[in-house]
């Protein structure tokens, strides 16, 4: 177990809003800021589009972590208030996750602006570290035990 824990490379799914977080992730690219290759990004127009069902689907399908990133509070959101909606939904979802036996820390909500390439990279780095400590998604581990 220890050994596998050490080699464990978490799989993270990122839902990024088009205008801030996705642009920030692009900026990390043009600035050549390096971060671990554990994240797979799915672009949505607004963080307010991110349905808790998407996050659950990712966890159900074996993601070890899910990043939701949008425009800074209170008023950077390109669609006025989608970020607040994301905040509410993710906060509630994290409460429910505990009941499913999933550590709420696996789901992370961050605000990344279009000029914060360095922040996006730092968030991914930090998240990979954190999830390495948590270990693999318990749903996946259960599945494997079966």
């Amino acid at each position: 177990m220890r050994e596998s824990q050490k080699d464990f490379e978490p799989k993270i799914v990122g839902f990024l809003c088009n205008w801030c977080a996705y642009a920030g992730a692009d900026l990390a690219g043009v600035s050549r800021i390096q971060y671990p290759p554990n994240i797979r990004v799915i672009r949505v127009m607004c963080s307010g589009r991110i349905d808790p069902a998407f996050i659950l689907e990712a966890l159900k399908n074996g993601a070890d972590g899910v990043l939701v990133a949008g425009c800074h509070l209170p008023s950077d959101c390109h669609y006025l208030s989608g970020n607040f909606k994301a905040l509410r939904r993710v906060t509630l979802l994290k409460r429910v996750l505990k009941d499913f036996g999933i550590e709420p820390e696996r789901v992370r909500l961050e605000w990344v602006s279009a000029s914060e390439g360095d922040k996006f990279a730092a968030v991914v780095r930090d998240m990979v570290e954190q999830i390495k400590k948590l270990g693999p998604n318990p749903l996946k581990v259960m599945e494997e035990k079966k």
Binding site: A23, D26, G29, R49, N61, G62, S115, K140
Partner: protein
């Protein structure tokens, strides 16, 4: 000649500036003829590897513009041609053009390239600056627009092999030069520049020593499409260099050679080349830049300079290199220079890059004579501070490096600005000479199984150097519903667009996936391509395997390749479910709203009004003028107050401009073409206005220093305060010390404030003019008198102004010693501390963002930079646009700048705005919400949540259901997320599509883990 005005414009020069001017004109209803001497358009930018300060790949950001210009129905490309004669006047010119023969029929050639493959001749490849060979029949570069070959008759041996192999029968050996006559209303000159001929600087050995190359040659060496495939090699022996020297100001700031001006872009491109070289060379590479002043004066440039030093370890040596000699045994170069400690040194390098300056194209006198325009003493086009886009001949405008050396974003802004100028004189002719683009009928694919084509881009070596692209192609071929996959050197190039269209036909594709860069910049290009092939543009999807993969995992090729596969798989899964969408159209309110009544805002308002559009101009202060009110004289000699007076009068008297003084815009709602805003008037009342665009021109403010006793001792003041005193005749002094970079280039504000060096030189010269015996000291970090301003730096130094360099470690100290004002600083030449007792200390206080920017940014939903200036859509190619459609930017709200630069940007914002205001209806983004009325329970949650009021409830068959007002829907998708019955969803981002992406992206990962 035709009577009256003509709704067409001639653009001379097909570089990035010419292209931008042509696109803006063509997009707002004018016919454009673009003439270029070379066989294809693209100019110097097409030869560059990367661009600063974002390290964007030059070809990648330029290619969509090349393609857009090439395929635009209202732009005629007349390449391999030159202007022979001009008659007529502004509004109605007749231009004679000579079309030189290509010896290949342009109509017949399809750019297949078979002729070049078979050509037995090895000629010199000018695109690669003579570093490689090409055949006598050639295109300049693979992404060339138009992709038509040309025979170099000087090299051609007449063997007729090409004629034999050409399947299109396009080769015509006996083709003759021809002349054509065009009738146009205005002319825009954008002939660009040519690099200084480094051979003239013979002490540097260029042309004699193989390993001394010019900066443009080094760009080619860095480029994946260059002579060595992007691997940095020495020309003499193909070895990888370990130590490269960059030598600045070759052919610039050089009295001996007569090029006294600064070429304005070389410091930054050398820093960029050094950074990119270090990224390209796998082993350890030392880069040293020999410079006089590092002129990193542009937006975010200093942060880049800092990164070069701190992150990349690039060494900067302040020294003018005396000479270079070669060690014939090794081909290494010995650089002779005087070190910062004043001792002569010789240092050995494997390779030397000469940062060659910009000069006007060689036959520019002929062009000037033909057109009747004046050149300045440096052979650049003569312009004035307040009319930076106008030549000496009415109706003939100028943009880009032809008016002064400048970098890409300024050239682009000037190009749009020149377009605005041209639009104004032929405004009534708008729309009369243009053709509407026709698309083939859209194929109905609803009954077809998904047939997906996947195109994977190498992006030169940007992707292909890290991700194993062919492996990803093979992988993509095995994915469900993928019937075709291929890789491309550049998927965005014109020939690949043609290829994609061919493959759609050949394989009957009904979905297309491109894996390349970011959809934020390139999606529109590919959507257009699939549309031209008869597919709905929304049957297209992109995987971002560059910005979010190869560029951020440069040292993990295996992981990056796996990630690219995952991303492609995820996007293919989405593509399977894609549905065609319709672009709704909306009416445009042909009115502009300009926020800010300084020189930028007023200019933008006037330019819009000159084109016949109504404008609301809102200024917070009680009078118009902004920053310009505080400028009393200029380096170049014009009277700014007189101009201000004229400008204010023109604005106040213009019947199309409504001026609101002491007023503020407090609310903006709506969307491109249809904004509704509230203006709080000076009376406290609110007025609602409707408009189609917004131009942000809120300016900037002077930093109030906290350092150097400012505010404590009245003898310490800012440059603006000094200027006012001088102008009012209240300034008398025998000794003055100026301190540069106050509140700039520090921890808090890392970037340069651009204009303070010019201000200091201007005020120093004024003090000297009034009292030649006065001592003026300028304590500086780098003197950034870029472009023609260098001349005044030279003049100040000649008149005895003393410039002394200081460093961050040893900042000057200002004290009040018993009533005596004292400045202590370290003198680097004398190598000792010096103390002066000046009458005044003048602080060159930075220009900092308007504190109101944050509120305005939030109101308009546009971003700010870390520094607090507005962040444009793209630093290089969209300098006055925001990512949000219909909102534009100009002047110091963008970043600090001189008056002529603000005016250029203001004109540019007006031209960009005109591309919207000139349309009666605008085609909107098709990504909007839609309702499945059978599923809708009428709960009204979506109606309540929608931030735009885009949902109304309607009765359908006795049931209340939600209905989307498409013109109001902005496509955020919040409704779809909240809908309890999943009746409402966002097109192109449906729940099914996103869930499919989630499953697909994780699926294989697990398999791989087992």
């Amino acid at each position: 000649m035709a009577e009256g005005k003509v709704g067409a414009v001639l653009v001379v020069g097909g570089g990035v500036a010419g292209i931008q001017a042509a696109l803006d004109l063509a997009d707002s209803g004018f016919k454009v003829y673009m003439v270029d001497q070379s066989p294809s358009i693209g100019g110097v930018m097409a030869q560059l590897d990367k661009t600063f300060p974002t390290n964007d790949c030059s070809m990648c950001i330029l290619a969509p513009k090349l393609v857009a210009a090439g395929r635009h129905p209202n732009i005629s490309l007349i390449t391999n041609s030159e202007v022979l004669g001009l008659s007529g006047e502004a509004g109605n010119f007749e231009v004679k053009i000579r079309k030189r023969s290509r010896y290949i029929n342009e109509e017949k050639c399809n750019g297949c390239g078979l002729c070049a493959q078979k050509c037995p001749v090895e000629a010199i490849d000018t695109y690669n600056k003579g570093l490689t060979d090409r055949s006598a029949v050639y295109v300049e570069f693979p992404q060339a627009v138009p992709l038509r070959f040309k025979i170099d008759r000087e090299k051609c041996i007449g063997c007729r092999t090409c004629q034999e192999v050409c399947k299109a029968n396009a080769v015509e050996y006996d083709q003759k030069d021809s002349e054509i006559v065009l009738n146009v209303g205005a002319i825009i000159l954008a002939p660009g520049f040519e690099p200084f001929d480094a051979r003239l600087k013979s002490e540097y050995g260029y042309g004699r020593y193989a390993n001394v190359v010019t900066s443009i040659e080094f760009e080619r060496i860095l480029s994946a499409s260059g002579p060595y495939g992007g691997i940095v090699l020495r020309p003499s022996d193909g070895e990888i260099p370990r130590k490269i020297a960059f030598i600045q100001c070759v052919g610039s700031r050089d009295a001996q050679l007569g090029n006294n001006y600064c070429s304005a872009a070389c410091c930054m491109y050398s820093i960029k080349e050094a950074i990119i070289a270090k990224e390209h060379v796998p082993t350890k590479l030392d880069c040293t830049i020999f410079y006089m002043d590092i002129r990193a004066y542009g937006k975010e440039f200093d942060a880049y300079y800092k990164r070069a030093q701190e992150e990349y370890g690039i060494r900067f040596v302040r020294s003018r290199v005396a000479s270079i000699t070669e060690d014939p045994a090794t081909g290494n170069l010995l650089v002779h220079y005087v070190g910062e400690d004043e001792t002569p040194r010789i240092e050995e390098f494997d390779m030397v890059v000469l940062s060659t300056g910009m000069q006007s194209p060689k036959d520019v006198e002929k062009l000037a004579k033909t057109l009747g325009i004046k050149l300045n003493k440096y052979r650049f086009c003569e312009t004035k501070t307040f009319t930076p886009l106008e030549t000496s001949k009415p109706g003939v405008y100028v943009c880009g490096a032809f008016s002064s050396p400048k970098d890409i974003p300024e050239s682009v802004a000037q190009a749009s600005g020149a377009a605005a100028k041209a639009m104004a004189i032929i405004a009534p002719e708008r729309g009369k000479l243009i053709a509407v683009k026709e698309y083939p009928a859209e194929r109905d694919v609803s009954q077809e199984e998904p047939r997906i084509g996947v195109f994977i881009c190498h992006c030169g070596i940007n992707i292909g150097g890290i991700v194993r692209v062919p492996e990803v192609v093979e992988y993509a071929k095995k994915l469900p519903n993928v019937v075709y996959a291929e890789d491309n050197l550049y998927t965005c190039s014109d020939d690949t667009q043609k290829r994609i269209k061919e493959k759609i036909k050949e394989y009957n594709l009904n979905r297309v996936v491109v894996a390349s860069c970011t959809p934020r910049t390139h999606e529109p290009l590919f959507r257009e391509t699939v549309r031209e092939a008869g597919l709905n543009p929304y049957l297209f999807e992109m995987a971002n395997i560059r910005d979010q993969c190869s560029w951020v995992h440069m040292h993990e090729p295996d992981e990056a390749t796996e990630k690219a596969k995952d991303l492609v798989r995820s996007v293919v899964a989405k593509a399977r479910l894609l549905k065609p969408l319709k672009n709704p159209t909306v009416k445009v309110t042909p009115v502009g709203l300009v926020i800010g009544g300084g020189v930028s805002g007023m200019t933008a308002a006037l330019e819009l009004a000159n084109q016949g559009f109504e404008v609301h101009l809102v200024e917070r202060e009680k009078e118009l003028g902004g920053h310009l009110r505080k400028i009393y004289y200029l380096l170049e000699g014009e009277d700014p107050q007189k101009h201000l007076e004229r400008l204010v009068k023109a604005v106040m008297e213009n019947r199309l401009i409504h001026v609101y003084l002491g007023a503020e815009v407090v609310e903006v709602s709506g969307f491109v073409g249809n904004f509704k805003s509230k203006i709080r008037l000076s009376s406290g009342e609110e007025k609602e206005v409707e408009h189609g665009v917004v131009i942000v021109a809120t300016g900037a403010v002077e930093y109030k220093p906290k350092e150097y006793l400012y505010g404590e001792d009245p003898r310490v003041m800012t440059q603006h305060e000094l200027e006012e005193k001088i102008a009012k005749g209240e300034f008398k002094a025998k000794k003055v010390v100026m301190i540069q970079c106050v509140g700039a280039r520090n921890e808090e504000r890392p970037n340069c404030a651009r204009i303070c060096c010019g201000q200091a030189i201007k005020n120093a010269l004024k003090i000297k003019e009034q009292n030649p015996d006065a001592d003026v000291y300028v304590l500086y970090k780098d003197v950034r008198s870029y472009g023609f301003k260098e001349e005044y730096y030279r003049e100040a130094a000649a008149k005895g102004v003393i410039f002394i360099n200081y460093s961050d470690e040893r900042k000057p100290k200002v004290t009040n010693d018993g009533g005596k004002l004292k400045v202590a600083f370290y003198e680097p030449v004398l190598k000792q501390e010096v103390q002066l007792e000046p009458d005044y200390v003048i602080l060159s206080a930075a220009t900092i963002p308007n504190p109101d920017n944050k509120r305005i940014a939030e109101m308009l939903k546009v971003p700010l930079t870390k520094d607090g200036f507005f962040l444009e859509a793209h630093m290089k190619l969209r300098p006055v646009d925001f990512q949000t459609d219909g909102v534009f930017l100009c002047g110091m709200a963008h970043s600090p700048k001189f008056i002529d630069e603000s005016i250029s940007q203001a004109c540019a914002a007006a031209a960009r705005a005109a591309t919207i205001l000139s349309k009666k209806v605008l085609e909107m983004e098709g990504i909007v919400a839609s309702v499945d009325e059978d599923l809708c329970s009428g709960c009204r949650i979506c109606e309540f949540l929608c931030p735009y009021g885009a949902i109304e409830m309607k009765e359908r068959d006795g049931k209340i259901v939600a209905h989307v007002i498409e013109a109001l829907c902005k496509g955020c998708g919040v409704c779809g997320t909240a809908c309890p019955t999943k009746a409402i969803t966002l097109g192109h981002f449906t729940t099914e599509e996103i869930l499919a992406q989630v499953r697909a992206v994780l699926q294989e990962m697990e398999v791989a883990a087992k």
